[in-house]
Every structure is written in structure tokens, then in C-alpha cells.
């Protein structure tokens, strides 16, 4: 009986805490802009309208959320295995390169199978890159946060060098790019919407990751490793391979995001691909507490922030950095709200029940 109420409380808190933190962030942001002489109420109204107010805004938010889902998985999946990997930007960029570069080696690619192949190439590049970070950790003891960060910078440098050098399309004069992807390889918009299929990929990947982690043996094994690597090893789990798997899968998601950016948006790989999507993905993953079920809604929230930011600039004259400030407040408060876990909804037990010791409370 008390286990059920504890579980209910936990779930309720898991939803309430971030929501309260978010409301707090909006309040704080309102106070911040009021300081600068802008009406907070106008700001809140515009934030809502810009993110979800009309069909255009919703599609804008969805479009921005699509790559964020994948880059968030690049952080969330290794995190479930116990690693903090923040090199998603590098994996994304190499994924974009891989996608754009494959037709150089296989010029006859076309159609749906060709499209699947270039996306797979991007995913493979990303998987290799973050897998490298995981391998360096397991076999050389190098901290994965630092190594993935450094690998990210190296990946961006390699990308720029190749795109503006050996892989450059000689016709792309003022904006160095690779050769544009064949028309048939590109990703189109969803029917009737102004959002490309990348959204479906993002949601599908999140669901697949969630199902994998929650319901499969290997997913469970990864979670055990993430919970306590030592115990996992004692139980006989192949921790090295599992960690590598989690990193590679995360990297594949980021690489896929990069490939989709090329195939759906830019049609070629160039410097515009380096747009900080990997870094925003880190944010989304942490706010979603590395839970793939929560990644799509949180990504949509952050997509909404970005969409609203445009409107804030145009209507209220707020600087574009307002979105960063709001994201910063939200992130800080959500992190801080974790401290309230277990204290927000105190147990409303009947006095008689207090007599018996509640072991569950200790483990909550």
C-alpha cells in the first residue's frame, strides 16, 4: 500500500518539480526584462504565442525540436551507462560530412535506398566518434567529458578543413560547401506541414531508445552499468562492451542529426551546419534527466524557446540573447529543484501507520 503511494509521489514529483522550476524560470525572466523596462506580461504572452500560439509557431517549434531530440540522445544514452559525454556537436558535424561525402565515393546513389545509405553513413561517422570517446575511457582511463569535448573541437576543425579543401564543390565560391546532394537523396517535408521528416526520425529514435532501455535485456544491462559499474562487473556483465555500445548508439543519433541537417535543410555540408545544435542537446538531455521518454517533450520546449525568441526580438526589441538567458535560468532552477525531491510532497500518512518503520522512505 505505502509502496504504491510512494511510487505515486515519486512520479508526481518527477513531473511537478521541473514544471515548478520552469514556472520559476519564467517568473525570473519576467523580473529580468522588467528591470530593463519591458513589460513581463507582454513577454510571457509573446513567449507563448511565439512557441505555440498559432500553426506557424507550432511548426516552427517542431522544426527546431527535431534535431535537438537526436543530439539529446547523444548525451542521454551514454549518461544511462554512467558516462557524461558532451561531444555531440563533433559527432553531428562528422555525420553531416559523412552524409555529404558518401556520394563522392558512390556517385550513382539515388532514391530511397540511397537516402537511407547516406543517413546511415552519417550515423556511422557519429557512432565511431563518440565510440572513440567511450573506448578511450574504458581502455585508457581518459575522462570522457574532457575527451569528448576535445574530440568535438578536433572534429569541427577536420570538417572545416575538408569542406573548404579536398571535398569542396568548385562551384560553391562564396560559401564553400561540398557538392550538393542529388535531389532524390534529399529529405522532404511532412505532407501538409512545413516540417521535414527529421522530426519523425527524432521521435522514432527517442521511442526506440526508451523501449530499448526499459524493456530489453541489453538496455537493462546498460542501466545496471550506469547505476554501479563495479557491481555490474561483479555480476559478470561485459561493462566495456556495454559502455561502448551506449556511446556508439548516442553518437549514431548525433551523426544522424547531422546527416538529416544536410539532407533536409542545407543540401550540402558547409559551415552553416555548425550551429550549436549539439550543445543545446546537452541541455535538453539534462533537463529530461536522461530519460528518452522525456526527450521529445523537452526538445519541443526548447524548440519553443527558440521560436519565441524571434518574436521577442521583433516585437519587444529584446536582444537575441534573451533565449539564452531564459534557458540558463530554466536549467539552473531545474537542477536546483532536484534538491526538493522527496520534500515537495511529504508523506500524508495516517498517524497509525507512523508506528511501523517505513523502509521505503529511506530508499526514496
Amino acid at each position: 500500500m505505502s509502496t504504491a503511494t510512494t511510487a505515486w509521489r515519486e512520479h508526481a514529483e518527477s513531473v511537478l518539480l521541473p514544471v515548478l522550476a520552469l514556472l520559476g524560470a519564467l517568473l525570473l525572466f519576467g523580473a529580468w526584462v522588467a528591470f530593463g523596462g519591458v513589460s513581463p506580461v507582454d513577454t510571457w504572452v509573446l513567449l507563448f504565442r511565439g512557441a505555440f500560439g498559432d500553426s506557424f509557431s507550432i511548426q516552427n517549434s517542431l522544426q527546431r525540436a527535431a534535431p535537438l531530440m537526436l543530439t539529446a540522445l547523444a548525451v542521454a544514452l551514454p549518461a544511462r551507462a554512467g558516462l557524461i559525454v558532451i561531444g555531440g556537436e563533433g559527432a553531428l558535424v562528422l555525420g553531416a560530412l559523412g552524409c555529404a561525402a558518401l556520394p563522392y565515393g558512390l556517385p550513382g546513389l539515388s532514391g530511397m535506398w540511397g537516402c537511407a545509405l547516406v543517413l546511415a553513413a552519417g550515423a556511422a561517422c557519429g557512432a565511431a566518434w563518440l565510440g572513440l570517446a567511450g573506448a578511450l575511457r574504458q581502455w585508457r582511463g581518459v575522462n570522457e567529458t574532457i575527451s569528448s569535448l576535445l574530440l568535438g573541437y578536433i572534429a569541427i576543425a577536420v570538417f572545416k578543413h575538408l569542406v573548404e579543401g579536398p571535398l569542396r564543390d568548385p562551384g560553391s565560391l562564396n560559401k564553400p560547401s561540398t557538392l550538393a546532394l542529388n535531389e532524390s537523396l534529399r529529405i522532404a517535408s511532412l505532407p501538409g506541414l512545413d516540417v521535414h521528416w527529421g522530426l519523425v526520425w527524432g521521435v522514432a529514435a527517442s521511442l526506440a531508445a526508451a523501449v530499448w532501455l526499459s524493456f530489453t535485456t541489453s538496455g537493462f544491462a546498460v542501466r545496471v552499468v550506469g547505476g554501479n559499474a563495479r557491481a555490474a562487473r561483479l555480476v559478470g556483465l561485459p561493462t566495456n562492451r556495454l559502455i561502448l555500445l551506449a556511446c556508439a548508439l548516442g553518437g549514431a543519433c548525433a551523426g544522424l542529426a547531422g546527416a538529416i541537417e544536410v539532407a533536409a535543410v542545407h543540401t550540402a555540408a558547409n559551415a552553416s551546419v555548425i550551429a550549436g545544435l549539439g550543445y543545446t542537446g546537452i541541455l535538453v538531455a539534462f533537463v529530461a534527466r536522461h530519460n528518452p521518454w522525456m526527450v521529445p517533450p523537452v526538445a519541443l520546449l526548447f524548440g519553443g524557446f527558440g521560436a519565441a525568441g524571434s518574436l521577442l526580438q521583433r516585437r519587444l526589441g529584446l536582444p537575441d540573447a534573451s533565449v539564452l538567458v531564459l534557458q540558463g535560468f530554466a536549467f539552473m532552477l531545474i537542477l536546483g529543484s532536484e534538491a526538493l525531491r522527496g520534500r515537495l510532497l511529504p508523506a500524508a500518512r495516517a498517524p497509525a501507520a507512523r508506528a511501523t518503520p517505513h523502509v521505503q522512505e529511506v530508499t526514496a
Binding site: I84, I86, L136, R137, Q138, W139, R140, G141, V142, N143, T145, I146, S147, L149, L150, L151, Y153, I154, I156, A157, V158, K160, H161, E164, G165, I282, L283, F286, P319, D320, A321, S322, V323, L324, V325, L326, Q327, G328, F329, F331, M332, L335, G336, E338, A339, R341
Partner: protein, 306 residues
């Protein structure tokens, strides 16, 4: 290239190493202090950018670069304090908080810094160490940031303090074994918060150096990940303040070498050149780490020593 051309190149790199390396020095010293207490602060990028903006703004409004330096150090301390306090709450990951701080610091800096992009602020004076030379080049290469000697003194001071003073011992104890520290009655949280705030303060000086000396202007592209690289730098330097000094100069030199080579006519592949410091750090980490023994010199309580 002739002998004098080689000498010129060498001097240019030395000058560049000091110029570009000064912010690295301060940020890595600040991070070193924080990590010695067992906490990692990834948010120093946000601290660097924000204190650069604050320093520039204060110098511009007050007309004195030193007030700007003070403002930069103060805002760095404030942000460090924020990081320390949030991390002291239960169940909060310091890596996540660091990323949040990076975001918040950068966002606030860009937001408040909009009116500061155009104006010019009084600059930190330089110390003309090269006045003995007739060559203009040597003079300019050795004309160093007044904050640089301060940084060197700080590195020496920190190194000495960590080994020979009581607070250094307390700090190291908190970083190596929080249980032992608690057993002796020290408040682990208080020490860590103080160390993070002090670390932020020192990193703020790096921000002042960027916006008030070199490049000496406020701009949204001012920092290109220097705060984050400082974290790698500290590991590279094995948590020793003196080695941080050397590593900062090395990274500064590596950053200066690209343009220096181009200006003598060696061009091509400049993206790869620019990535050299990162590749070098990674290579050294790979070569010197081992899964079995923890990184020598790493504070035990720090999450990175696996």
C-alpha cells in the same frame, strides 16, 4: 629562412604565447583551485565571458581599467559562488551545473553587453619589458599585459600556499578525502563553495585580460571555448599551478603559431593548425592516463580520476 627570420618568428611566438596565454593562465588557475577542493566547474566559459563584459562595462563607465579589473574579478566570484551553492544542494551534478552556468553566464553577458560592442574602454597598461631592444618587434613581443606578472605571482603563490599553509592543507584534504576532512570538523561544503567562488574570481581576471587588453574590445565572439579548454589544461598540468603556467603559455603559443606562420608565408591547413592545442592535449591525456591507476595528482574526490 634566414637566421634573423627564425629569431623573429621565435619572438613572435613568445609574444603571442604571453598575449594569448594570459586568459588561459587565469582560468586554469581558477579551475585548478576549484578542482583541488574536489569540484569540477565546467561553467568557467560563462564566467570568462561574463566577467569580460562586466570588466569592459565598468572600465568604460568609470574611465579606469583597474575598476574594470575589479568588476571582472567580482562578477567572476559571484558566478563562482552561484555554482558552488547550487552544487552543494543534494543530488545536483556539478557537471550539469557547470553547463548551466556556461549558458547563463554567456546569455547574461550577451544580453547586457549589447550596448558595449561599439564603445572603447580604457585599456590595462602594458609593461614594456622589451625597451632594451632597438628592434620594434622585440619591443612589442615583450610588451606584456600588466596582469601577466600578477598571474605568474598567483601561480607561485598558489603552489606555495597549497603545500605550506593550513588552508592549503584543508583544501587538499577536502579534495582528497572528504570523510577525513569531516572527521576533523571542517565543513566540506563551505570549503568547496569558497574554493569555487575564489576560482571564479581568478577566472574573472582572465576575462578582464581579454576585454581590457587583448583583443581589448567586447564582442560576442570574444571567447572561443577558452573556458572549457582551461579544464583540459588543468588536467594536462596535473593540478599543479606552476605547470598550469607552462601549459597556458604552451596553449597560447599554439594559438599564436597559426597566424604567425601565415604572416611569414607558410599557409594552408590553418584549421588543422588551430586544432593543434586540442589534439595535443588529447594525445597527452591518452599517453599518460591508464585505466588501472588514477591520474597522478588528481584530487581523489574529483569525478575525473577514474
Amino acid at each position: 629562412m634566414t637566421g634573423s627570420a627564425w629569431l623573429d618568428l621565435f619572438l613572435a611566438i613568445v609574444g603571442g604565447a604571453i598575449r594569448v596565454g594570459t586568459p588561459f593562465l587565469f582560468v586554469s588557475l581558477g579551475e585548478c583551485l576549484t578542482e583541488k577542493s574536489g569540484r569540477i566547474n565546467l561553467g568557467l566559459e560563462g564566467v570568462l565571458v561574463f566577467s569580460a563584459m562586466a570588466g569592459f562595462g565598468a572600465a568604460y563607465l568609470s574611465g579606469s581599467p583597474w575598476l574594470g579589473v575589479l568588476a571582472a574579478a567580482g562578477s567572476g566570484a559571484l558566478l563562482g559562488l552561484l555554482h558552488g551553492l547550487v552544487c552543494s544542494l543534494p543530488r545536483v551534478s556539478d557537471i550539469a551545473t557547470g553547463i548551466a552556468l556556461m549558458l547563463l553566464g554567456t546569455g547574461l553577458a550577451f544580453y547586457l553587453g549589447k550596448p558595449l560592442i561599439q564603445p572603447q574602454a580604457p585599456q590595462i597598461p602594458s609593461i614594456p619589458l622589451g625597451a632594451w631592444s632597438a628592434s620594434q618587434q622585440v619591443q612589442s613581443a615583450l610588451s606584456i599585459n600588466a596582469l601577466f606578472p600578477l598571474g605568474v605571482l598567483m601561480a607561485l603563490g598558489l603552489a606555495w600556499g597549497l603545500k605550506h599553509t593550513r588552508w592549503g592543507l584543508v583544501l587538499r584534504m577536502v579534495g582528497d578525502s572528504s570523510d577525513a576532512a569531516r572527521a576533523l570538523g571542517t565543513s566540506v561544503t563551505a570549503v568547496r563553495v569558497a574554493a569555487t567562488a575564489a576560482g571564479g574570481c581568478i577566472a574573472g581576471l582572465g576575462g578582464a585580460s581579454l576585454s581590457l587588453y587583448y583583443p581589448g574590445s567586447w564582442n560576442e565572439g570574444l571567447s572561443s571555448g577558452q573556458g572549457l579548454i582551461a579544464v583540459a589544461l588543468v588536467i594536462f598540468a596535473r593540478w599543479s599551478p606552476i605547470r598550469c603556467l607552462g601549459a597556458a603559455l604552451l596553449f597560447g603559443g599554439a594559438g599564436a603559431i597559426g597566424p604567425a606562420l601565415q604572416s611569414v608565408g607558410v599557409s594552408g591547413g590553418y584549421y588543422l593548425f588551430n586544432a593543434m592545442p586540442y589534439a595535443l592535449t588529447l594525445a597527452i591525456l591518452v599517453a599518460t592516463c591508464s585505466p588501472r591507476q588514477s591520474l597522478r595528482g588528481a584530487p581523489m574526490e574529483l569525478g575525473v580520476s577514474r
